[in-house]
Symmetry: D2
Subunit: 448 residues, 4 copies
């Protein structure tokens, strides 16, 4: 089946043999304290199909094959942990993203008010907060402490990048008597989470590890959209509108905007669709040539001759073939250090037109941290609220090694191990990307 939808083309790529079995720490025997109307609890038998193609479903069932499905998230009738004896910890890792504080707040309120958990710790500055050598204090969290944090961008707990020794992390959990760990982060964090879960199992501990997927790039596999993404696109659009204003304000004005997107160009593509003022959208998933008759520079020249101004949006991970050093460098999290495609393009474009004697004005905008530091929009805020609630429901039920995801309009449980197997990227044959190309009219930008 052809993908038809906007940001969610990956749905039909979900493989049949995906393992969506969720681990549990043991049988859930404590009655859930939630005061819910009858029949409002969710059982593990409630599962939703991840694939929705009628043809696929029919064939799979006709042939007796399984089809990929996931456990529904939600409060279970029986839980594993005794709330009165539970101690939960929350840690936020990696880069900032709008909505982190909303997730923290939702976790705290649900633990406290819905389940009656009274000991909730905020781990400061990401995984560093577990390591005594850093000397970061642990915060005691309560409804009062978190009551206003959703008004602020960023993370109230602080964050950091990079690996920390798994044994020291589990030592810290033991020391604090924590039996529930919420980890808000991206695929790097989830890989760490998996190792922590394994070390916990090795030691025979009963500590649940539940992830909430966070990435400004919207590139986590098996999540329809990550929180904060919509807010980030809204901010990116503001920068693009300014670039457009600058471009039309100068003779042969060129507005060039670099946005986030290391491996996945969702922000660039979505902002292009939303503003409708972008003439070239460059993303990591689609190679482009700079030189040559079909290359970006020549196409840009044609555009300028025709319309006297142009707007280019480039994801930070695009065009790396031009800016990667021979020996790539890596950041503390182990991510390759990207070359700066933004300033490279700015300089190359200037040089190109200088060579050709055409006076152009390049206005380069790198909104960078402005995009990810704002408070969440209302839509993301609601989303974060649910993610936090479902994370608590899963943890209290004794589930571990999973993340909360949103697929086919349902919140579901996905094993962390599956989520980190791949990265979600823009499908360059999808209607989504084809619409971007129609909007920009940029053509292929490749000489081959």
């Amino acid at each position: 089946m052809k993908p038809t939808c906007s940001l969610f083309d990956f749905i039909e790529e979900i493989p049949e043999d995906i393992n969506t079995q969720i681990e549990t720490l043991g049988p859930a025997r404590i009655e859930n304290p939630l005061d819910l109307p009858e029949g409002c609890f969710v059982t593990d038998e409630m599962r939703i199909s991840l694939r929705v193609s009628e043809e696929f479903l029919r064939q799979a069932l006709a042939e007796g094959r399984s089809f990929p499905a996931a456990e529904l998230a939600g409060p279970r009738p029986y839980i594993y942990f005794d709330p009165a004896k539970s101690r939960a910890a929350i840690v936020t890792c990696g880069g900032l993203c709008p909505g982190i504080n909303d997730v923290i707040r939702s976790i705290v309120l649900t633990l406290y008010h819905s389940y009656g958990v009274r000991h909730i710790y905020g781990i400061r500055y990401g995984l560093q907060g577990f390591i005594p050598a850093y000397g970061h204090d642990v915060l005691e969290l309560s409804p009062e402490v978190v009551s206003e944090i959703h008004e602020l961008g960023g993370t109230f707990l602080g964050t950091s990048r990079g690996h920390q020794p798994v044994d020291q992390i589990v030592d810290a959990l033991e020391r604090m008597n924590v039996n529930i760990l919420f980890m808000i982060g991206g695929d790097g964090t989830f890989r760490a989470a998996t190792k922590i879960k394994e070390e916990i199992a090795r030691r025979g501990l009963k500590i649940a590890v539940v992830g909430v997927p966070k990435t400004i790039d919207n590139d986590i596999w098996l999540v329809s959209r990550t929180f904060g993404f919509v807010t980030a696109v809204e901010e990116a659009c503001k920068a693009i509108r300014c670039a457009h204003t600058e471009a039309v304000g100068a003779p042969n004005g060129i507005g060039l905007v670099k946005v986030m997107g290391r491996y996945s160009g969702f922000i660039a593509a979505a902002a292009t669709l939303a503003t409708k003022e972008v003439n070239f959208c460059l993303i990591p998933e689609e190679d482009f040539d700079l030189e040559g008759p079909q290359g970006l520079l020549a196409a840009l020249e044609r555009r300028l001759k025709e319309r006297r101004h142009a707007v280019i949006v480039v994801a930070e991970g695009a065009g790396q073939k031009y800016v990667q050093p021979e020996k790539p460098e890596y950041d503390p999290s182990g991510n390759i250090k990207l070359g700066d495609i933004g300033t490279f393009l700015r300089d190359r474009i200037k040089a190109y037109f200088q060579e050709r004697g055409l006076e152009v004005y390049v206005r380069y905008i790198d909104p960078s941290y402005i995009i990810r530091s704002v408070p969440a929009s209302v839509d993301d805020r609601i989303y974060c609220g649910f993610l936090g609630q479902y994370a608590v429901h899963a943890a209290m039920a004794g589930k571990t090694g999973l993340m909360i995801s949103y697929l086919n309009h349902h919140y579901v449980h996905i094993p962390l191990a599956e989520a980190t197997k791949r990265r979600k990227q823009v499908n360059t044959r999808s209607r989504f990307w084809l619409s971007v190309l129609e909007s920009t009219g940029q053509g292929r930008l490749r000489n081959d």
Copy 2:
């Protein structure tokens, strides 16, 4: 299966016997002029399941029953209408909603640039625009005319409410030689669209009628969310924040906000979840008592005694039992005229506390048209862009009597006749509504 998701609980309520067969005007024989990569066209055989419960799907197939599914939207390899000879018309009906201009713009750009249709008419002021007696001019639409309209709220074409004679409408279509009619509107509009389609069939004409669902209340059946809804909630939240500020600024301050929602309280409920500052959320789907020990007034009094301020959000259709006259009145569209629950509550609350000698300050805010007149947010803007594109693809393929919908992350075709059979409402047993209740702590508000 229990509903677990946010705004989309209705998915599991979609009945098995739903008719999702789309009518066509005839065989599509003209090659689609779109220059797409191989395999990027969509065929009618591509359908997606509307229900996603694994158990449901297994049983349905095991028992040889069908399960509800819908045709995927998208460009077909062959189309029915010759673009060179086509004349399209666009009409917007009913109340304003953020994003209408984005839909219009997308339809025009797709017709013009993707298919080469050169004659596009904008019908002014809703169905009135078809009726000669009103004397409204028809606008010629082109990419240039619509290039900036998405920056403005409202509808560039104008709109109106109320019925118009179907035969005169079809007369007008004949007179203008229109063979494609796009109708942007709600269920009233879609009922008119169905009648227009039938009259077209009766006359043996070949005119496609394609709907794009529009309602600020998000209450159209078989659409996950209507465009503009997210933007509207964002605006509603601003009013609620002001109400909260007013409430805490006065001794026993009560902020009371009336928001849209005639039969469906989605805006009230979503804004409650997003702001987290609402203490009472009243929606049409959930009856409440004013008087009595469990009624709103007593609950409000308890809240004031405890916290000295309170925020109430009421959907305009809530509590109608208190404000409906014995003989209800109707508006030109045939909708019942709602009693004004907002000012009623304001006055009743004042009187109640005056009787009890408690000085309270009621700050009543009715943001009304402010919510629906703003330009669309980025997220809605992208959504509108796709709705417009898919409407054009459907129409060019000769499909008629359908609306474009978005379900399970896919754009699909839904027969108008099915969409108007029911209304989408808040499921008061869903996690969505339960989360609202947890957030407000309002309790049942009923004495029975």
Copy 3:
């Protein structure tokens, strides 16, 4: 001299015989603890002329007459109160206004950090907070307590309207050992402040009373602009834009917006100038007729016939001749209760066109509390910061019975008694108002 300027026409109306002498509690003998560069203190001899007409100044001096001038605000080299022994109180009275929290915060930070005052009390809910019978607690204020309050709209301390017994207020000041009282309010508050100051003097106490002028209507005499006004206009403009969108979206659409402005139409007039989409701007200072050939209704009809839509902005105090009952009512502060000109106009306009058989759509927007409850804009925020600082400098120097004002680009001291003698209103012969008339093209709207 003719007035030429925007909102500040009143400058040339300031009478020559104005008394700008500021009272002090006694000689200032304590060295100011501020660590300022040499020569950065301000002395009472530094005064600025309130009038700036060259001709006026020349004549006044030639004839040996005085010209109105005011004492410059700022830190004095010597102060009256010993910071270590000082206790300050802050009270906020009357309606909300953007920026109140910024003023509170600035007062607290300046008292604490610049002067070292350690006892600062926040009086809750306006003058009620002084009266034991209400049972409101007093808040201890410190830099920590106020550190984030500027992010919120409204007043952190709460407010109320209405008179309270002056002797009980001074009793409370005595009981708390307060020697500095900051009153943030409008002319009603300033009249109370004057009485409090007199009662203080009668008792032989040494308590400074310093006012910071606050009114959303911008109608305080002898202040160029009140804080929050610019923010309020920004919000009013949003409502007007929505009204315009609604008006153009319907055949014969009429957008009608009621904004604040009991006696002074500054918000209505400034918003009209800023949006440029208003066709009729009605303010209390300019009488208008509804009926008759030159009246509003006939003018509106002409406008609709010509352009098919219209936008009307009405200040709440305009057209009271149509809506005042024979026996006027009064609110707790002693202000006359205004009739509701907004709904009156809405209904009268509907009736008028119904009589004449012209179908019109009236969209009535009363943004009310939304305008005054938002956080302050950056410009107002800076302004509030200075107002708070200068209020503290004045109080520490032992000055009393004054307010901080901003005139001719300087912060100055103005006696409360002078400030309450008149009300600032729109000069309907000024360039400011003439520009409004040019922008709307509304004409005189009077039959005489």
Copy 4:
């Protein structure tokens, strides 16, 4: 007298011998067509004092000295140019600034509607638009063309930097029969305007040249504040808030924001006052040391040790002693090319702490063009409207070689020659700057 006010400290620095005489092209003999109430015209004898110190005024008058005063702006009873025969041109030069389109729109509407001028030309891309070699078309302007331009940021006409031959410019004016030229620009533009005016005089032509001061830096001498400045500060504050969010989100997080301000640090200083979250504010007017015990780096280290995060705002022209090459370069307008203090500080800070083994996270934000490309805020919008109106009144009266200014709450005429004699800068001994220092607590940052 000590300066006491916020952004307008320069008022008391205006020298006594300033020449405020405005040139005219000849006697104004045509009756002004404006339909104004009696006595609403302004005459040249109406002048306002630029200085307002009572003491200064008394002394000056006692000693028979003149005091600096300026002609009031506004419509004159008689005008010089016959509107029916007039042709006006508008040109926008230099960098973008919020509100340019508002000024253009106001000029066009006033020319057209108030005076009846029917030929108005928009010169494209700054002074380039006069030079045939560039081949830019001239735009015909009318109320219809400009009706919506105020909704957009930037300049509708386009702009450019750099000198163009004065004789060719005047040739173009002659060729187009233009007799009124409006130049919207900064001091470079005003110097060009003065030369154009001189060349016009040399040729014996009757062409009025009227300037409207525009600079995002707010650095034009003899104007209280330039339009767009308030809007720019609002945008700068958004970036600073993000920097603060980033800083607190990381262990030893440092938010570093570069804002505009080549020679004058008004944006940096005002944004510091408004956000209250800045710890170091660096402006061109105040030298600072990087190294040494009192230098920025040591102070930053102390701050981090105490609070673990810091926010630095640096104006682009600050600290040039560290980043200027030995041979400075110049841009087309003749402005010196500033070294990039932003990236220099970022790198030096990183290196400093790396040397000292303290892991810090530097988040560098250069919002650059985002600040100046947004549409104007409501306050700036009103201001721009008046500037445009008064520019037209001055031009129609035959005045030339002047700019419209706003001083002491009045709009006045200032000779261009005076305005370009100096630059307005932050007075580092003013209450304004002292308040910035109190807010940041940064100390002197100098070792001497």
